[in-house]
């Protein structure tokens, strides 16, 4: 068997591109932004690799998102190693078609060795190598980069099985637009960016929406004249490292902030939705037939989010003052507390209240069902230290707060890919020189 090390790169690589099997120093699984960023960084180090992609470049953006979705980060922030947005609307937000084009252009720009339409069915350890089995062949390599993303499998609570069959149930992966839904009321479950955006557009379509929210993160789109992402970036919040956070596990699992990317740069929060007629209920705790029960903790969920937002705005104001920007910017402001009402609804009869659809915007999780390595914890999460997985030569990338707060953002891929490709390169050097590998993350 050929050694996976010291494989040809650059023009010689071309000859391999149509092959469905082979040997490389590294295999990247997934051609989303994180996988492409990693590919670029490996190429810079002349590390021979292939990217195995179940569909096409940017597959999830292309095929698994709803029609109206735009990025939550402004265009000026869209950058990948050696590449950045250079269009005429830096403050705008890309549609999914635009994101797909951006990724396609990037894949061409870096000459990414993508094997499209190739589904990985197994990754196994074979001595010092890994065997990556796909539906089209198999690859041997010394290192594997898992770049399949954090958002591929919708999480739906088990109580969904108790919902009567007369009610249509779907997840954001299957949802495209309101026309797909039956007429009548819609219960949207989930208070993250997804839940709020879908509640908003479904309510606008004339269907009356009930929105169930638990713990959530509230943010204004624009603060003191600048996009909230600008502030988070400038004040160093997005660069906070995973080793600087006192409760990393919690930081890695906070819901995505309630944001929407629109040409008007509008703020989407619970108050905006209730003003539009959306009915707010707390976290859905139980379903039995047509009867639903919601938690009695809605006012605390909202109080926690309001307080957390104010702490962030305090931090931003302090930073702006220290940076000498206070005089040149609009004054600081605070937003009205989230309106909950004195007695929020605790139980709802789905049929009597006219609800015909339940949309489970209850989050996504990575799918590692193909990963035949003992690297998952008891909750099915991959064990890693800043992307360096608990199995030599295995790396993961693109997860929330993986190495820093921005890790799951498009622009967050670059710093992570640089550091992980350096680690990966050192590992390969070590293997090829026959030294014992002992470097820690």
């Amino acid at each position: 068997m050929t050694s996976p090390l010291n494989q040809p790169v650059g023009s010689v690589r071309k000859a391999f591109e149509t092959a469905a099997s082979g040997t490389r120093s590294a295999v990247i699984i997934g051609a989303g932004h994180a996988g492409l960023a990693m590919s670029r960084c490996l190429s810079e180090r002349s590390i021979g690799h292939v990217i195995l992609e179940r569909g096409e470049v940017a597959n999830a953006w292309r095929h698994e998102r709803w029609d109206s979705l735009r990025l939550l980060t402004p265009n000026w922030q869209c950058r990948l190693p050696g590449y950045a947005y250079n269009g005429s609307d830096p403050d705008g937000f890309m549609t999914m078609a635009e994101v797909t084009r951006f990724m396609d252009d990037y894949a061409r720009f870096i000459d990414a060795p993508v094997q499209a339409g190739t589904t990985v069915t197994s990754v196994r350890c074979r001595g010092q190598e890994y065997q990556v089995v796909t539906d089209r062949g198999e690859w041997f390599c010394a290192a594997v980069v898992i770049a399949t993303g954090a958002f591929n499998k919708p999480v739906v609570p088990v109580m969904s099985a108790e919902v009567p069959s007369s009610i249509k149930q779907l997840t954001p992966r299957d949802y495209r637009n309101p026309e797909q839904l039956p007429d009548g009321g819609v219960l949207v479950v989930g208070g993250s960016a997804t839940g709020l955006q879908l509640a908003d557009e479904i309510q606008r379509s004339g269907r009356s929406v009930t929105l169930s929210v638990g713990e959530h993160v509230r943010l204004p789109r624009v603060y003191r004249g600048r996009d909230i992402q600008w502030w988070m970036d400038a004040a160093g919040i997005l660069d906070e490292g995973y080793d600087e956070i006192n409760d990393l596990n919690r930081a890695r699992h906070v819901p995505s902030p309630q944001l929407v990317g629109t040409p008007e740069r509008r703020t989407l929060d619970l108050n905006a939705l209730t003003a539009r007629g959306v009915k707010l209920v707390s976290r859905l705790m139980a379903v039995s037939g047509n009867r639903t029960i919601f938690s009695g903790a809605l006012s605390n969920h909202c109080a926690l989010a309001d307080l957390k937002m104010d702490r962030l705005l305090d931090r931003i104001d302090n930073w702006a003052r220290a940076a000498g920007m206070d005089k040149t910017l609009p004054p600081s402001q605070r937003y009205p507390a989230t309106e909950v009402g004195a007695s929020p609804c605790l139980t709802l009869d789905l049929e009597k209240s006219g609800i015909r659809t339940i949309l489970w915007a209850t989050g996504f999780q990575p799918d590692y069902s193909w990963l035949d390595l003992p690297v998952l914890d008891r909750k099915g999460r991959i064990r890693h230290d800043g992307g360096v997985v608990d199995s030599q030569g295995i790396y993961v990338t693109g997860l929330p707060f993986m190495r820093r707060r921005k890790s799951s953002f498009i622009h967050g891929a670059e710093d992570d890919a640089r550091e992980l490709s350096c680690h990966l390169g050192n590992y390969l050097d070590c293997l090829s020189s026959g030294q014992k590998w002992s470097a820690a993350g």
Binding site: A286, G296, A303, L304
Partner: protein, 187 residues
């Protein structure tokens, strides 16, 4: 670091021990399985006496230092002898104790010195429920209000955050606000 943070904050909570336990129980989830118990004997009329003594946790049987006893009864205006708090008042007692313990712990962890904490609780109830007068009225509280008066070395927002965090981590708050399956059997 400012002068306030340098002061030794003491709310009587051993946060280090709690954080150590948290870490230990993260690694040994089976030790985190606890079972809380109470036994109750009927005395007479609506008067009962409950005892709390043993519980299970950290993989073993555990005991309180002493056995605690609680009398429950109904007030005289409900034709009872008023030998103790009503059971629903005991629920308020549980909620108050839990939220207040949470506030002290979170304050200690955040380096906030408490001077005084008082919670005033009110639970609204329509007796047409338990008396079977109107089947549309539920038996239990239709509304619980908790009002805290807190004197602490902290800003208003920091105090609000303490109260919010203690609700987020409170067992009794969760028990009251979310459904729990209850199995009642007869031997």
């Amino acid at each position: 670091m400012n002068a306030q943070q340098e002061m030794v904050v003491n709310n009587g909570v051993n946060v280090e021990a709690i954080l150590e336990a948290r870490k230990a129980l993260t690694d040994t989830p089976e030790a985190a399985r606890f079972q809380w118990r109470a036994t109750c004997d009927w005395v007479n009329g609506t008067h009962s006496r409950s005892k709390v003594d043993g519980f299970y946790g950290l993989g073993d049987e555990q005991r309180h230092h002493t056995e605690f006893r609680f009398d429950t009864d109904h007030p005289e205006l409900l034709a009872a002898e008023d030998q103790g708090a009503t059971p629903v008042e005991m629920v308020l007692v549980g909620l108050a104790g839990c939220l207040t313990a949470g506030i002290a712990s979170v304050a200690q962890n955040r380096g906030i010195q408490l001077h005084s904490v008082r919670a005033i609780l009110e639970g609204g109830m329509d007796l047409q429920g338990i008396l079977g007068i109107d089947s549309d009225v539920r038996n239990g509280f239709d509304d619980i209000r908790v009002n805290f008066e807190i004197d602490a070395e902290a800003t208003r927002d920091e105090i609000n955050a303490l109260v919010a965090q203690s609700q987020k981590r409170s067992a009794v708050f969760d028990i009251i606000t979310n459904p729990t399956n209850v199995r009642v059997t007869v031997k």
